[in-house]
Symmetry: C2
Subunit: 347 residues, 2 copies
């Protein structure tokens, strides 16, 4: 396969780790990376090490007391965020700047927080309006975003876009595992996704993710979580001694498995335990698929991630894996919106 020219939108936790993982993939050529104040661009391939060094602990977000929900991480240096890289320049229109270069971009990894539900769908729309032909990949989590992408599918198809949505850990590799585990069965009665994340050393990188997770807790929703100060987030974490258990989360695994025809969205449950004070996972990440075989046996197939695999590894490896497959689809003129399970064996 030829090298794939990739732009990474967002250089927070996910964007930076995706670039880090990409250095292990000889087919991945990172040609653009941006955050809200800057863009690094080099069509011959960015120097990822320089970019990561320059931006580590230096993310272009607002102050600690901001209420717009972005991840607020300490900022150092004169230039904030990606603009601190020698390969970057400041800009007030980073996404437009990427779109302007998109003729030479095969795939775009959208690693932006999606606290407004239609934020990523609207970004897809902007690429479509510009006539982009290529792949968009995101690692979104929320079920309702999928419908918003579907509403825009015709425009994406007209442009020549292959959008792979929910391509991280869950949804993502675990959705794929559920689709594969379902293959033994003719009817699937339940899919249970149970994750464990230990975040101690990655906490600074993942404040946005933690905030999104808190929105799933009883008594919180996406609006309240977005309007919480970082101090309030810390207080919730303190109240739980750093270990927060989530059940019945709105994760898009449900609609993505339903659209692949594997089971009803209502038969999918997602939950897990987040420990922000330990690197050890508080529980083993497991997908359990229970169903009935053609010969009438009821059984459960399972997929388990080794406890030493970090959330970052389990989000970004699959994101790049789905991106690679997406580029093949795009080259074969397969356009539209696809979830991970739709790339796996059919049901």
């Amino acid at each position: 396969m030829d090298d794939i020219n990739v732009a990474v939108l967002g250089t927070g936790g996910i964007g930076r780790r995706a670039l880090d993982v990409s250095t292990h993939k000889d087919w991945f050529r990172p040609v653009a990376a941006c955050d809200r104040h800057g863009i690094a661009l080099d069509h011959t391939g960015l120097d990822v090490a320089e970019l990561l060094d320059a931006t580590e602990g230096n993310v272009a977000s607002e102050s600690q007391t901001r209420t717009d929900g972005g991840s607020a991480i300490k900022q150092t240096g004169k230039k904030r965020g990606v603009a601190a890289s020698t390969q970057a320049r400041s800009t007030e229109t980073p996404i437009d700047d990427v779109i302007a270069e998109s003729d030479e971009i095969d795939a775009v990894l959208i690693a932006l927080p999606n606290l407004e539900h239609d934020f990523i769908p609207r970004i897809a729309e902007r690429f479509a309006d510009a006539g982009y032909e290529g792949v968009l990949v995101d690692v979104l989590k929320r079920s309702r975003v999928i419908g918003m992408l579907d509403e825009r599918e015709e425009r994406l198809i007209d442009s020549g876009i292959t959008f792979i949505c929910g391509a991280g850990a869950t949804p993502g590799v675990l959705t794929g595992a559920a689709a594969l585990a379902a293959q033994s069965f003719v009817t699937v009665e339940s899919v249970d996704i149970w994750w464990g994340v230990g975040l101690k050393s990655g906490y600074e990188d993942n404040r946005g993710t933690v905030r999104e997770d808190i929105a799933h807790l009883d008594g919180y929703d996406i609006e309240t979580a977005r309007n919480m100060t970082d101090e309030e987030i810390e207080q919730v974490i303190d109240e739980h001694d750093g270990v927060i258990e989530f059940t019945d989360m709105e994760h898009a695994d449900d609609v993505l498995l339903e659209r692949a025809g594997i089971c009803d969205a209502a038969d999918v449950s997602v939950g897990g335990i987040l420990d922000v004070r330990n690197d050890e996972k508080p529980t083993t990440t497991t997908v359990s698929v229970t169903g009935t075989t053609f010969d009438g046996e009821r059984a459960t197939n399972t997929f388990e991630l080794g406890d030493a695999t970090s959330m970052a590894a389990n989000v970004n490896g699959p994101a790049l894996g789905y991106l690679k497959r997406g580029v093949q689809m795009n080259q074969n003129e397969v356009y539209g919106v696809f979830g991970p399970a739709e790339l796996l064996p059919g049901f």
Copy 2:
């Protein structure tokens, strides 16, 4: 998705069970099924129940003492095999008869024993020679067959054929699971596939498979196994008290994972335990993928099949799942030879 018109070549254990599973798939329209002496054909869809009833325990093979390696199962009725169905007729040229109808066939499931290595590759060639545009799927096991398919890839592409090879259990769903489990890692050091099969109630249906497995034992090879009488096979089974352990089997998972770029073929091991006298699996079928993450952690991800899932369920569900995906590829004019791991997220 529109209905998929499928022909099943071979109505032994795998072919019959594939037809059985297909009755649970509303997109699957079985339009042809053949064995060495007959063909059932109905472009509006075969009556699978009638076909299975008519052929159960009635397989068109030679006598108990035959030495050509087919599965010899008791024969009843005047007409042997599929010809016993009211939907079938006798023929001396069953595969040519299917090829003659192939304009109206979207996919062909090759469920024939492959005791000569190039048998299935040669069948693919015959479809290509006839200008077939569609999908071929097989559930072959042996590594060396893949190369023989590759040698014919240009001819398959010219014809418009999408060949999905090794699409059963192992290789097949377990190869796919390994490809998915690898996504957490940037380097994969080992893939261990370990299967358990309990065959008591399915033994009559699976004599061909048992014979193929025996070829993997120390002191046997594919030639000696092919030339054994059924009595000699029984004797080997007796010597092992019905429970035979296999290690370092030549299963195509190795080359199929290598061609997907996940690891070297040499890093893949396949083994398992077959118990022909119990339905209970003697061991749990497990795929273990050990690798290193981008952040330097070594871990093992695992995929386990529930013990109550039969070999038949784990071969035929995935075969139909890969077939369905193959038809989408074919409709998108993606032609050539593909292993299961190449349909999954890239590496």
